[in-house]
Symmetry: D2
Subunit: 399 residues, 4 copies
Amino acid sequence: MKLAMLGSGFIADFYTGALHGQRNRDRVHVVQSRSEDNLKSFCQRWNVPKWTTSMQEAIEDPEVEAVVIALPNHLHLEATLLAAKAGKPVLCTKPLGRNADEARQMLEAVEEAGIFHGYLEDLVYTPKTLKAVEAVQKGALGRILWARSRETHPGPHSDWFWTKSISGGGAILDLACHCIEIGRHYIGKDIKPVEVMCWADTLVKPIDAEDHAIGLVRYETGAVAQFEVSWAFRGGMDLRDEVCGTEGTIWNNHFLRTGFEMFTSGGKDGYVAEKAESNAGWLFPVGDEVNDLGYNHMFTDILTALENGTAPLETFYDGYVVNAIMDAALKSAQTKTWEPVDLAVWRGQELGGVQQHFTDYDADHYLVKEEVMPGGQTKIILKEKATGRMVQRVVNPQD
Amino acid sequence: MKLAMLGSGFIADFYTGALHGQRNRDRVHVVQSRSEDNLKSFCQRWNVPKWTTSMQEAIEDPEVEAVVIALPNHLHLEATLLAAKAGKPVLCTKPLGRNADEARQMLEAVEEAGIFHGYLEDLVYTPKTLKAVEAVQKGALGRILWARSRETHPGPHSDWFWTKSISGGGAILDLACHCIEIGRHYIGKDIKPVEVMCWADTLVKPIDAEDHAIGLVRYETGAVAQFEVSWAFRGGMDLRDEVCGTEGTIWNNHFLRTGFEMFTSGGKDGYVAEKAESNAGWLFPVGDEVNDLGYNHMFTDILTALENGTAPLETFYDGYVVNAIMDAALKSAQTKTWEPVDLAVWRGQELGGVQQHFTDYDADHYLVKEEVMPGGQTKIILKEKATGRMVQRVVNPQD
Amino acid sequence: MKLAMLGSGFIADFYTGALHGQRNRDRVHVVQSRSEDNLKSFCQRWNVPKWTTSMQEAIEDPEVEAVVIALPNHLHLEATLLAAKAGKPVLCTKPLGRNADEARQMLEAVEEAGIFHGYLEDLVYTPKTLKAVEAVQKGALGRILWARSRETHPGPHSDWFWTKSISGGGAILDLACHCIEIGRHYIGKDIKPVEVMCWADTLVKPIDAEDHAIGLVRYETGAVAQFEVSWAFRGGMDLRDEVCGTEGTIWNNHFLRTGFEMFTSGGKDGYVAEKAESNAGWLFPVGDEVNDLGYNHMFTDILTALENGTAPLETFYDGYVVNAIMDAALKSAQTKTWEPVDLAVWRGQELGGVQQHFTDYDADHYLVKEEVMPGGQTKIILKEKATGRMVQRVVNPQD
Amino acid sequence: MKLAMLGSGFIADFYTGALHGQRNRDRVHVVQSRSEDNLKSFCQRWNVPKWTTSMQEAIEDPEVEAVVIALPNHLHLEATLLAAKAGKPVLCTKPLGRNADEARQMLEAVEEAGIFHGYLEDLVYTPKTLKAVEAVQKGALGRILWARSRETHPGPHSDWFWTKSISGGGAILDLACHCIEIGRHYIGKDIKPVEVMCWADTLVKPIDAEDHAIGLVRYETGAVAQFEVSWAFRGGMDLRDEVCGTEGTIWNNHFLRTGFEMFTSGGKDGYVAEKAESNAGWLFPVGDEVNDLGYNHMFTDILTALENGTAPLETFYDGYVVNAIMDAALKSAQTKTWEPVDLAVWRGQELGGVQQHFTDYDADHYLVKEEVMPGGQTKIILKEKATGRMVQRVVNPQD
């Protein structure tokens, strides 16, 4: 498939690396950005036949079958409107908008134009996340109670990210968008996020936006998804998720501990490891970064869906929900209370409030805990429904 | 040293295991509890010469040099008052009280009586925590920004824990007391906890108190310490701490991943591992539980301090501060806003509010980020103090 | 690229999964095996247009651009000769032959026919191995001293593997071929393997061949590469490599500990994890097996080399060297002494014997060890070249 | 208990740290070494009341209840003979002798004198090893097949270790003694070691002895225990053991990955971590080195046995067996063949040769493998006893 790549920076490089990688049949046909110098080196680096500084020209190129938006956040809406106007399928990087209002305009534009849209949320496409979500959906963890997702690193590479008017915010806009969508996948994308509590602070970097945040997103099932983000982490990039349910737990580590461990004194000529903070000592590279971070599975899912006329795993609607949750988080960081998630458009289940789920032991008792003791006996703790009293029973194996 | 052990349950067993362990010179001289049956088997198990059902008798035993309170939470105050009356040194298990009010009464009682008091908060005494705190204090992590402490397991062993009137609460009273004190150690015990935001819910167990909670404790330096607790975790006991600063990070795992990994089909006669949820498959025992959970270092510090007439690392005052933070957490879970920590007695620093710490690059600029690029160049992102504008500079190695 | 797949079993499935995966442009055009039933289900599973029970027919299919041999070991030679006769490029699974003699016939056949040949040794193509080898080649580990590679699991899936006349051997033929080639990559593929010491035994399985083996392969640089294989390992598949040099070390874990950890009670309906020995307890799935085991990078390298007319990383020559080393290992297991590697064809360096490498401290001394002491002093241990005497010096930082 | 410590170097420090640690009741009463300076600082450091440069004086001190030999290897025999003459219980560090002959003289001396003797092999006393051995003895791993033990680090601290005439050898004498005894514990201390195959080389250090070695020790059950040692490892101290059986496996990591992970930029004043090769980057300290390396459990077992008049876990007899195995290893490194272990004194089982253990499926078949397939069917591979032919059966769950 022939693509227009809008943007020629860090993320456009990553995307093109995935698209042109392995034995793929997709190619970037034209690349667009503001800087001619960047464009020329990009075309050389990736063997791209055409470049232009005009978004419209790139989008309307007759050979282009789909448009990839890899631009700074403040240009996502404009690019989407142009693609919608041209009737071209559009794939947009994260976060979708700088806020839910912008994201909703983008969603409406693509839906009104009837064009295919994919949300480039790579981290829900990591092989580990896909496999974990599958296990959750098969019931391996039982009813989901908690999810937790962390992305922390020493801060973004480009200056525009640090300027709030362009990026729309700080570590939350940049990183929590990933964590929030991972949480939705574990808890269920059709489960409504109800309210958000968020702490955000500017502890290290001299910026207007936050460089640290922790947020709790509460869903209608009662489950809570936590996000943890930082632009001032030391030691590399910490990318970990967890999900707990009544029957199990999953711990995923995508970056710093994936089974590759190297100690080097630095070697004779100085060995430079990628994404490590130092060139010596213990280093923890990832084997295949582009695959392990989800780029391959993301483009496979979205471009194959486009070819097949089906829906991809992630659409602009998902991007909109994430923006709405981030809006609530940013508001909560100001008001210091839980803030409701304002979802004007909700397409999932309506449970109508949280329900409690206790386990019956028999007609008169709830089960609190059952435990095999060192001596082989089973200790059972029950709650009498009528009185609320706790009862402890010890059962011998031979009984 | 000869000790009176008040209580003969799970925690009394652990304490006595530590006290009588290795080549120790300390011994439990008398044990007290309500149940004669328990007392007899306890004395036999640990070779303890005397037992009684009377707290007072145990405390006033003339050979007893110090009293260890290993009783359910609702009896800590009563036992402390008896020890104070008898003028005997007293060591009390965690949490100190069921709330800050009770803890404060205990603190006042021991201070007015002028007796030695130690707070048996074992998890700040784990070898890994002690070493991590030492690294933090030596500056290895720079200025501390975040701390995180988790204790989750499938719920307590004894029925009294599940009854709120006796235990004073749920997973927060039982587990977060550990997490909170670990956070204080990392951030600085002399730094004032300002406010708490807490989510708590009863998701699984049919109890009046919470079985899950996540809380954020904000300190005067701006640092935040998170606690994460659950009584419904599957997979064993998850006991992990983290602390991040401007210069580094520490990850401690005390239980499920400590370098001992065993797969067993179950063997011929069924192999029973401790504290594992199953007898087969991959199991992760701890090498030396009593040492790795801090019991040895705790009693060494406290009993040696008692002998030397110095202060132990943890006193009733620390227990009181922890109770005050838990009170704020429980209130926040109800009011759904940040709640101030009500510390009528504060003996640490008074910073008078949070300060921001940005790093100067030169007189006119703050440093945002400095990064070595793959090509060997250094990219520097600065903020102009006067305008607030972001500036990006690339410096070649030869420059 | 259109391929003929010879074989429709376990490994043919894996290969086709990789070839047809992601957004790949390659396709299996025709599949061949003895069983019509297998062929039909294979074609359906992978959407393959044609099948045949005739090797020759598959190879000579005019649309077929290259032949993939995924057959039991005793058929590799025959299939290669047919491909050579047809002048078609050929890719052969591991091990190349049942012994060096067979491998050499295959090598000669393809070289005489002048056809492209690739050796499908997937494990040297795992992303972690590729990155580790790159680090080694850049000098990050200094001079290489040791390498170690392990593959152990509960035994192969198919019955033919257990029959020595068909497979050519046991765990060594099946697994050590991987380990040996990984060792060659770390030590240098142009470094001559000199001699092999091997223990092999049939400890568990009622078979003629070995189910366990440990071997040491000694190279001309003095470096030693160990292989460790078992067909009776419990706990999943253990796939780990290590390499040590004078300046560093690398530990690679490809399977059981790669950052994905799941505990499940089994769930309501029984959760079935792949390649795990149980459905409950702690499980350690791999995120993306086909990528993490090297299949993607292997076919990318080999098919791209074929298209570009260049040499792939692994050719039949490498397969031949591996077979020669395995022959020496099997012989050593019998003779219980080190056995020379009989390499009639050697195309790498000729060092002419092992040399010793000691580090000079000054003209009169070798450096034994230099160590910073807790007090900040540096302790230096030297050996006097003239006398062979050890000398210890302590240098203060201010000196 | 009051002890005489012979030696005041690195290992004497470690021992005294353990003996005087926690709330222990044991004390070093007198310390002996050649250097008055060392003795004075030792006494000050550890609060030891007496010192002497005379072994005999230390041993014969009337208050001394037991003698601890913490001297260079070439003095073990002399010290033992003096203790035997004085009739004092004696504890000797590892290795017992410089060779089996010396070890046997020591064994005979203590047995003839009828004195208590303990072999200070700390690493079989690590909490993880003790727990692992217990699991093995309870049958959790089934029949033991393999054991592996590694100790590698950048070389010993003291110069005498590098001089063969004093130490008796290189990395094997220093490190493999640990690994060999760990292997014996896993396979069974009453199982006879039959033969040894060993590779040893001097790859890095300018010394007469080996700085690297790998050895295989074969026991009468057919089980093999591997040792892996190096004096030139980079990255810290790698201390790992493994044991595999027909029903399971155990992986123990004692040092570099025990659940404590720290990244530091070095901090403002330079943070110095123990036993790390650098002061910055990722560091992996051990929580409680003296406990985790087995010193506490070792002295507890041996001194308590001495008090109780029972046998400790490790005696001079064990030291003698280890020396005999090392003698065979060193010989094998020369002869390049398997060398028999020459055990003039053997006090364990006599199996009279290795036996094979195959699992019956029914009267006519051995079981090769049983495996649940993705579709829920069970595939069973059998070997016909009469014909040796392999048979494959697929059983449906409903059958």
